[in-house]
């Protein structure tokens, strides 16, 4: 038995892997995520609207998802809040944009450079220098302009408020957003999958992932070369709590055949072991993986269905799900942006309560963030927050073991034979330590 500690960079924040080696493979693993910034405590005692400014500060890469979970939790607590279709659509659009931004950066900045460390000569992906690396940064900075159009800025906008959104916009704003979405779709087709739209759509409907070219084709080849297509499986239990209409629906998959709906009361937190400051969250007492793999599997993405059948929830499947989700999200955004033209005259906002001092109640907000299901819970008494509680996607995926079961990522790493593979499998969950220990 030998214990090896590895500090992970190229993740959001930092994480430490403690690998316990024996007989040439990982016998056990502990994922440790350092210090917390105490955001939930900062919220207590403040007027509830302050949460719209403070919760996005949990995370620089997915702060917008925190804003959306927060506004939903506040609306739930206020009760009977009506939103115009326009406000709903715009919120959906900006939330989805943030995921696209995340997925592009994650693949080009965090995933592909790992193959350089495995000895591959892929200079295009080299940090600070590579052509592809630079192009990806450019594409992700383009797509967030859509959030800026509707929400003022990215990162850290607070434009979604109970009752709607703070901004109003014109048809040419929508058109500008559409043309940005188009340019990112072009990037996806040209670079990520290396083909025209027609070709991609036909491969998609048949789920022919082997036919994909471009950087995803390169990724598949590298996975097969390094035998990463089969490793990195966890429980194969998948969960999605939020919805991104029309491409993502909530539900869960127990690992058996049937897809099931989700029962919120079955989500519970249990005590965590001493090595971790991260909570343990279980559904129906069991660990579940959340994120793009769950979403794309549950919403029957043909590519992911086939990949799952062949390789289960492996490293390769997980990475492909996140990358191919970009297209599904782009499609949804374009459709919604077109839909906005007809709604331009609707108000952006309705004031949802009489007097702030009269607002009391409990609320829950659940959305899909880039890394999976994000839950905010709030208690408000006479307009003041008395309790705030956040369960991030990373708690589901990177959280530690409970008495009965290993954490999802822990389970996926056990059995690997190469320390770099262990890091890569961990990164395939899209590690966000800043979120995990808010």
């Amino acid at each position: 038995m030998r214990i090896e500690k590895r500090l992970l960079s190229r993740v959001e924040g930092t994480a430490e892997l403690e690998l316990i080696w024996g007989n040439g493979y990982v016998q056990d693993v502990k994922i440790k995520i350092p210090s917390s910034r105490g955001i939930e405590r900062v919220l207590e005692g403040r007027p509830f609207m302050d949460a719209l400014v403070i919760t996005p500060r949990v995370c620089g890469i997915c702060g917008h998802a925190h804003l959306m979970a927060c506004v939903k939790a506040l609306e739930d607590a206020i009760g009977n809040v009506k939103l115009t279709q326009k406000a709903k659509l715009v919120r959906d659009i900006t939330l989805t944009v943030e995921m696209i931004q995340n997925h592009i950066k994650w693949f080009y900045l965090f995933v592909m450079p790992d193959f350089i460390r495995l000895g591959e000569k892929i200079e295009d992906f080299e940090p600070f220098k590579g052509k592809k690396w630079k192009k990806a940064i450019n594409a992700s900075s383009q797509v967030v302009k859509i959030i800026a159009i509707f929400g003022g800025q990215w990162p850290h906008s607070s434009y979604a408020v109970p009752g709607g959104i703070t901004s109003n916009f014109t048809t040419s704003d929508i058109s500008r957003a559409l043309s940005i979405a188009e340019s990112v779709a072009e990037f996806f087709l040209e670079d990520v999958v290396g083909m025209d739209e027609e070709g991609f759509r036909s491969f998609r409907s048949a789920g022919l992932w082997e036919e994909l070219k471009g950087d995803i084709g390169l990724f598949v080849n590298l996975c097969i070369k390094h035998k990463l297509e089969k490793v990195g499986s966890s429980y194969g239990r998948l969960l999605t709590g939020g919805e991104v209409f029309p491409c993502i629906t909530p539900g869960h998959f127990t690992g058996e055949k049937k897809l099931c709906s989700l029962n919120l009361s079955k989500i519970k937190e249990v005590g965590s072991p001493s090595y971790s400051s991260v909570k343990v969250v279980r559904y129906n007492g069991l660990p579940y993986e959340t994120g793009p793999l769950s979403r794309q599997f549950l919403s029957n993405n043909p590519f992911i269905k086939k990949l799952y059948k062949a390789y289960k929830d492996s490293y390769m499947t997980r990475v492909m799900a996140r990358l191919l989700e970009i297209w599904e999200l782009l499609d949804a955004i374009r459709e919604k942006l077109y839909g906005l033209y007809a709604l331009i005259k609707e108000p952006s906002y309705y004031h949802p309560y009489q007097k702030v001092e009269k607002v009391s109640g409990e609320g829950l907000g659940m959305v899909e963030a880039a890394r999976g299901t994000l839950i905010h819970r709030v208690h408000i008494s006479k307009g003041i927050i008395t309790k705030y509680h956040i369960i991030t996607p990373s708690v589901w995926n990177l959280g530690p073991r409970c008495e009965k079961y290993l954490g999802v990522a822990e389970k996926a790493i056990i059995g690997l034979e190469h320390p770099l593979h262990a890091e890569m499998v961990l990164r395939s969950f899209d590690v966000c330590s800043v979120c995990t220990t808010h």
């Binding site: 967030v144 800025q153 901004s167």
Partner: protein, 285 residues
Amino acid sequence: MNVLWLQRLSCCGNTHSLLNCETFNALLKEVNFLFHPSLSLESEEELLSDITKGNVKLDLLILEGAVKMDDQRIKELCYIAEYVIAVGSCAVYGNVPALKDGNVCGLQYRFKEKGGLLGEDFVSKGGLPVINLSGCPAHPEWIVGVIRSLSKGIKPALDSFGRPKEFYSSLTHWGCTRNEYFEWKIEPESLGSKKGCLFYNYGCRGPMTYSSCNTILWNGMNSKTRAGTPCFGCTEFDFPRVGLFETKQFAGLPAELPIGVSKRGYIMLSGVAKMFAPERLKSED
């Protein structure tokens, strides 16, 4: 110029802000990033020990995130670097991570108290105190602008909080599309409008906050106040204040007036403004 970017207690928002910079790729041709924890392949430990041994020259240290008061590593590196930048309000003032933890601070401040990790008299080798780029996050053009100046040997002039005057000498209010409504004291009927000024009812800190958010737009596109969200004053030491969407009133007046405006002047002007406000500003379309 050799640049080292490190992170402590932060949300990494300044990193993502930086990556949004339109000319980030061009910057990479002008300066050499030794290491960035979210981006680099190399090991942080090896590089840092090379720097402390003097094998690698450190021209610019950029720190993102608040620090623990006993962070010797960062302290040591600050004394080695020619220049030190604190990027984002966490590294500048301590911000959110310092609110509930008395052992957490910024590099040279803890909120408004001078001192922080390095002490009030700290000056880096190049002869400047910590260059503070406050903001939650800091705007990419401010970050890149200062890096470029330093790489050309130009030392930025700093204000009393160590912030480059080039970006922090005017108010957020300057350039806001709602200025005309501010002048005539017209508030919006409700949120969600392109019209009306957010100072009177929604807590806008634009007239009390130094930043160039409305002259150098975010993502090259927009700003909070243009999008109908009040400015929360995130470049100032007292961010996040309690009651961020509220304008505190005192005897019928905003409890805080725009910087430099006297109470008497405000009362006189606003009376006149309300009386003579043009009709065209009062209707929604």
